[in-house]
Subunit: 350 residues, 2 copies
């Protein structure tokens, strides 16, 4: 049986122009490795499995991708020859593939409350721009010192450190410009301002930058606790997934209470996402990941498998996903795309 995760991996590894042509019939699954959950959680999961069964996640990704790729490419272009180098550097990293999970979460959350794909696209690509610029800066020699990302040499390897830093800066600023400039006028201006507040916070001290700083601080340090690690993961990774979902919901017109429920869902799946990343770092190959495997181990980083063990980490990831799904029950069928993405997060292979 082809699993949803395997199909998605296959699909996402292909370029935008090389889509699978036939509509894929996707059957969700729970990996046996993730079966050790409490009884009531199994019941909830089964209930959601049932609803989820008909949902074609690959098709959903496939249908949204062209609009995203087109808008992302446009965001890296300028007509001015003097900017060639920095624009090429931005394009290189932004168009290097990747799961586009954050944009998809944003679109799904926006549509969940009645917004359209077009309403969400500028914010969705802004999230991918923020994600990508954080990777460019994290990969720098004086940071995580990584040579490989999304199966290609990292930005600074190709364009040099100077351009890599500046391209990251330009992409971060550009992400806000895109939201402010390109969000359809039909979306109330106040919502756009709320979205910009969300995006601004997510890269700050209580977001990606703070999480990465604390992560580097803890590298090779004795006595890093699960609480420390959860703080790092919540801010380094979950913060941007949280921003994706909350911004999408805001654009779609969710109430404050609804956004708060989605925030809890997002933090759960964001933490699960990072635990899955930690697990993949030691169980997957460099080829499968498209980035250097066993990197955390080598850098002596605190990870969930290191602190809890591999099996306990898998259990914790699934517990978080189940908790997240429970939170979404009040939204009924409208939440199905987000639930399918939650499944994908723990079952993915890269």
């Amino acid at each position: 049986m082809w699993t949803k995760a395997a199909l998605l991996t296959l699909f996402l590894a292909s370029t935008a122009s090389a889509f699978v042509n036939s509509k894929l019939s996707v059957k969700p699954f729970l990996s046996p490795a993730f079966s050790a959950v409490k009884d009531d959680e199994v019941i909830i999961a089964e209930d959601i499995e049932e609803k989820d069964k008909a949902f074609d996640l690959v098709g959903y990704f496939k249908s949204n991708l062209p609009a995203l790729e087109k808008a992302m490419l446009a965001a890296t272009k300028s007509d001015i020859p003097q900017t060639d180098n920095i624009c090429k550097s931005m394009e290189y990293s932004l168009m290097a593939g990747g799961k586009r999970l954050r944009p998809m979460l944003c679109i799904a959350a926006c549509e969940m409350f009645g917004g359209s794909l077009g309403d969400a696209v500028p914010t969705a690509i802004a999230l991918e721009m923020i994600h990508t610029m954080s990777l460019i800066h994290d990969d720098l020699p004086m940071m995580d010192d990584d040579d490989l990302r999304r199966g290609k040499p990292t930005n600074h390897v190709v364009f040099g450190e100077q351009v890599a830093i500046l391209a990251g800066d330009a992409m971060l600023a550009g992400s806000f410009e895109v939201v402010a400039k390109n969000t359809p006028k039909s979306v109330p201006a106040k919502r756009v301002i709320q979205v910009i507040t969300i995006l601004g916070k997510t890269m700050g001290p209580v977001g990606l930058a703070g999480g990465q700083a604390m992560d580097l601080e803890c590298e090779g340090k004795e006595g890093v606790s699960v609480e420390d690690l959860t703080w790092i993961h919540t801010h380094k990774t979950a913060a941007l997934l949280e921003a994706s979902i909350c911004a999408g919901a805001t654009l779609g017109g969710a109430t404050e209470d609804e956004v708060e429920t989605l925030r809890k869902f997002a933090i759960d799946i964001g933490l699960a996402f990072q635990i899955a990343d930690d697990i993949l770092d030691i169980t997957a190959t460099t080829e499968e990941l498209g980035k250097t495997a066993a990197k955390d181990l080598e850098a002596d980083k605190a990870t969930y498998p290191k602190l809890l063990g591999l099996e306990e980490s898998k259990i914790e990831a699934q517990r978080l996903i189940d908790e997240a799904k429970t939170l979404m029950k009040p939204f009924g069928d409208r939440a199905i795309p987000l639930l399918a993405m939650a499944d994908f997060i723990v079952n993915r292979k890269n």
Copy 2:
């Protein structure tokens, strides 16, 4: 006679808590070095001198500074102990003094069209945050490799390169958050969105990041033309002064045509500002500048004095200021604070 520039230098070198107590009587002046302008421009300049005479620029800076400093300090704070290091790094550079010229330009442009200080403050500090983060990243060893800024060791010297990069990223994102979150609700949301578009563009490829990339590319290169240099200066320096003035005018309710006139004024004074910087690099001491003197010379950078000679550069700076002032005639007395700042730009000593 104490010149306005000398008084401002004295004033700005002091900390926010050590203000000069007496109200200073400021008499504008034209440096003899800048006297070689055309006849009609002299007349315009004299006319403006007359109007300008009563304006107390030092007092203007002094009255706006406390609101700015308070808001800037708040923008670097978080209650979360894990963010201590990155917040301290942000505070270190943002609160290190500096001329605060960009915020003052923004406030003056906002007030010129009927906006209040409070309307402008979030955008004004966002501009200073963008300026400061660009300095933190520019000073990095793999960029301009500078150890001294605003009379203090540079950010990476104190906090390390990792934190310096992340603090810069956090400050850039935070600048947008501040505008979106803290601009008074009385300012129409559409204006706030326009301001964010302006700020987003200013750090992009056709802004600071592109200007710095091109500047580094031209370092030590033969055959850099005045046109190349003007492109670099327009984008590396003038772009943010342009954003300061256009954003301020937008917040205050200027029409599109008015914003376009102010844009031309801003580009002129922005170019003059950078030419003055080039001149100061070779004529002022490290102590006067608060940053390493003769740095451009040492790095074999293309500068106006290098390409045009020192005297021609001074003439060009003053020509730009006079051209800028002419553009502002239709606004009459409302433009006086901006005109006084234009004078300050070429007459400053650091």
